[in-house]
């Protein structure tokens, strides 16, 4: 987009671009800055008026509490649970949706192709619409308050979503590369494993990343389905810094920083795949 170069407004454009770049950076950094400051400063300084942007006393007390203290016990369990649920739910839905996506992409029967929309329709379901029926079902099989139960529930909304992403991606892989193997008589599973998966790696990484982030973020199901240390996830643990009459903003901020780090690191590291996977995949509908 070098549209203005031939207008000869290079300097203007230069100023224009940098102005907005700085604005963009500031708008992203500022709330994060405040989150981190809130996790380090005394509450007294945070509620002062006029507000000092760099509080006088900074301490790591809350982080010590989270990682080693009494108050942090639930939080540490929640961290473990969140990791396990994210991996379990994403792992299970990944396998299911890869198979489904391959089937929908390579054998789009007349009626079957509509199944993608049926699946996507389930993704649109607001959680509250099925929450109680689900709770009763989980109770019957003794999966309330377990990471297994939560993972199964998460799979239900991850599977359609990942199927959609992966189907789009597999669509973009030319069929020809499988033909040789088909002639050789290799089974479809083998073709999927040996030929399709290696080519689909960017799409797979994007799908897995999205799955992990979505389960990491989920709050409502976790709030209702879990309450013990054995099963609560991070969003619930953070919400629990709300006491009966008070909210511990400092702890919430510290917990928030810790909870935000894993997905942020993942997103930054795997960003390239995310873009590749999402664009050559899902954009085809």
């Amino acid at each position: 987009m070098r549209r203005s170069s031939y207008h000869g407004h290079k300097i203007l454009k230069f100023i224009f671009i940098y102005f907005f770049v700085i604005l963009l950076i500031a708008s992203i950094i500022a709330p994060f800055f405040w989150l981190i400051v809130s996790s380090l400063a005394n509450l007294k300084d945070l509620v002062a008026k006029p507000l000092h942007w760099i509080p006088r006393h900074l301490n790591l007390e809350r982080y010590r509490e989270i990682f080693f203290g009494q108050v942090g016990i639930s939080f540490r369990y929640a961290l473990r649970n969140s990791i396990l649920v994210a991996l379990l739910a994403t792992g299970a839905s990944f396998v299911l949706s890869l198979l489904a996506a391959y089937s929908l992409s390579r054998f789009p029967g007349k009626y079957r192709s509509n199944l993608l929309y049926v699946m996507l329709a389930t993704y649109m379901m607001p959680p509250v619409a099925i929450l109680l029926s689900l709770y009763i079902m989980l109770r019957q099989v003794h999966l309330v308050n377990t990471i297994w139960g939560l993972s199964i529930v998460y799979s239900s909304f991850l599977t359609p979503f990942l199927t959609w992403i992966l189907k789009g991606f597999i669509d973009s892989i030319p069929k020809e590369i499988e033909e040789a193997a088909t002639i050789d008589g290799a089974s479809r599973i083998l073709i999927l494993l040996r030929i399709v998966i290696p080519v689909a790696v960017p799409g797979i990484i994007a799908a897995v990343l999205l799955g992990v982030l979505m389960s990491w973020d989920e709050f409502f199901y976790a709030l209702i389905f879990t309450s013990t240390n054995q099963a609560i996830t991070l969003p619930v643990a953070i919400a629990q810094f709300t006491k009966r009459h008070s909210i511990d903003y400092g702890m919430m901020a510290a917990g928030g920083v810790v909870a935000a780090l894993p997905p942020i690191i993942l997103a930054v590291l795997l960003q390239r795949y995310l873009i590749q996977g999402l664009t050559s995949g899902s954009v085809k509908g």
């Binding site: 987009m1 671009i17 770049v21 963009l24 708008s27 992203i28 950094i29 709330p31 994060f32 405040w34 989150l35 809130s38 002062a48 008026k49 507000l51 949706s97 489904a100 089937s103 054998f107 029967g109 079957r112 199944l115 389930t122 649109m124 607001p126 959680p127 509250v128 619409a129 099925i130 029926s133 689900l134 199964i152 239900s156 909304f157 599977t159 359609p160 973009s172 479809r188 990491w216 709050f219 409502f220 991070l234 969003p235 953070i238 919400a239 919430m252 901020a253 928030g256 935000a260 942020i264 993942l266 997103a267 930054v268 960003q271 873009i275 999402l278 664009t279 899902s282 954009v283 509908g285």
Partner: protein, 294 residues
């Protein structure tokens, strides 16, 4: 042919079963319950068949219809802002400038922040007596006095909630659109420039068509998210002030867990699903008829 059908189903079935079992079955149950006056806890009374009474109640209930309106407002505003900011930042990040790779990475950070943290953070920032936003704006002399950002009973509060939500979510649109921009061959730009097309023409004729697939994806995702919004409202305003930020999902939750009227709650949620369906079916039709190609 038969063998292919068999393979197709074999691959498809596990996913279908999981989705049908965990979402489909409970949803059918929800539809069924919506036709009853069903107390949530059925110790004392039994469910009583009421036909469409729960739906009629929904449509004549001004509070709930207010909730529908708030939900639509949230969705439309959040979709527009997400797409507007997404496209603008993507176009900015597609320019050449120093540190571009760094900024492209930076832009993804808010998106990775968990919703709960985002809601709590912004509630803290908006605080009327000690919030950072008030402090910043007064110290910059943009406003004279501290303001009650989440205190307006009109659409003001919902707008502030949408802004907080958008801050976290528009980066996904940015990266989708940016990828779309990168796929537009540079030669095309050169070609139209020779034709003497102006900036606006280039945007309409080349840039927009190039990123349209990405925009449609963003549109569908944001619509679904917007129309069933619950978490951020629940955590930031708990529906206030004077119910100005209660959404459909909020009313479903309130009916079920507050008023213990499962039948009514189910009817509300069916209405919610229907609204989402209408939007998404419209989009899908649109995507198909336009024959989008990436």
């Amino acid at each position: 042919m038969k063998r292919t059908t068999y393979t197709a189903w074999k691959f498809l079935l596990p996913a279908m079963l999981v989705v049908a079992g965990i979402v489909g079955f409970p949803f059918i149950k929800t539809i069924y319950i919506s036709l009853f006056n069903a107390p949530l806890i059925a110790y004392t009374q039994k469910a009583e068949w009421v036909g469409f009474k729960n739906f009629i109640y929904a449509f004549i209930n001004p509070s709930f219809m207010g909730g529908v309106f708030h939900t639509l407002y949230f969705s439309l505003l959040s979709i527009s802002l997400n797409i507007l900011l997404g496209v603008l930042t993507a176009m900015l990040l597609n320019q050449k400038f120093f540190g571009r790779a760094f900024v492209r990475t930076l832009v993804i950070l808010p998106w990775a922040l968990p919703t709960v943290v985002n809601a709590v953070l912004w509630r803290w920032i908006y605080n009327p007596t000690y919030g950072a936003l008030n402090a910043l704006l007064t110290q910059l002399h943009i406003i004279q006095n501290y303001r009650d950002w989440l205190g307006s009973a009109g659409l003001g509060t919902m707008t502030m909630v949408v802004l907080a939500d958008t801050w976290k979510n528009y980066p996904l649109v940015t990266i989708l659109v940016l990828a779309g921009l990168q796929m537009i061959p540079k030669e095309i730009y050169e070609a139209v420039k020779v034709d003497g097309a102006n900036w606006w023409n280039i945007f309409w004729r080349i840039t927009l068509p190039g990123v349209r697939p990405a925009l449609l994806v963003a549109l569908v995702l944001k619509t679904i998210d917007g129309l069933r919004v619950f978490d951020i409202v629940y955590l930031m305003t708990s529906g206030g002030p004077a119910s100005a930020t209660k959404t459909i999902s909020f009313y479903v939750y309130q009916e079920a867990f507050g008023f213990l009227r499962l039948g009514q709650a189910s009817a509300f949620s069916i209405i919610n699903v229907t609204i989402i369906f209408v939007f998404v079916i419209f989009y899908i039709k649109f995507i198909r008829s336009e024959g989008v190609s990436g």
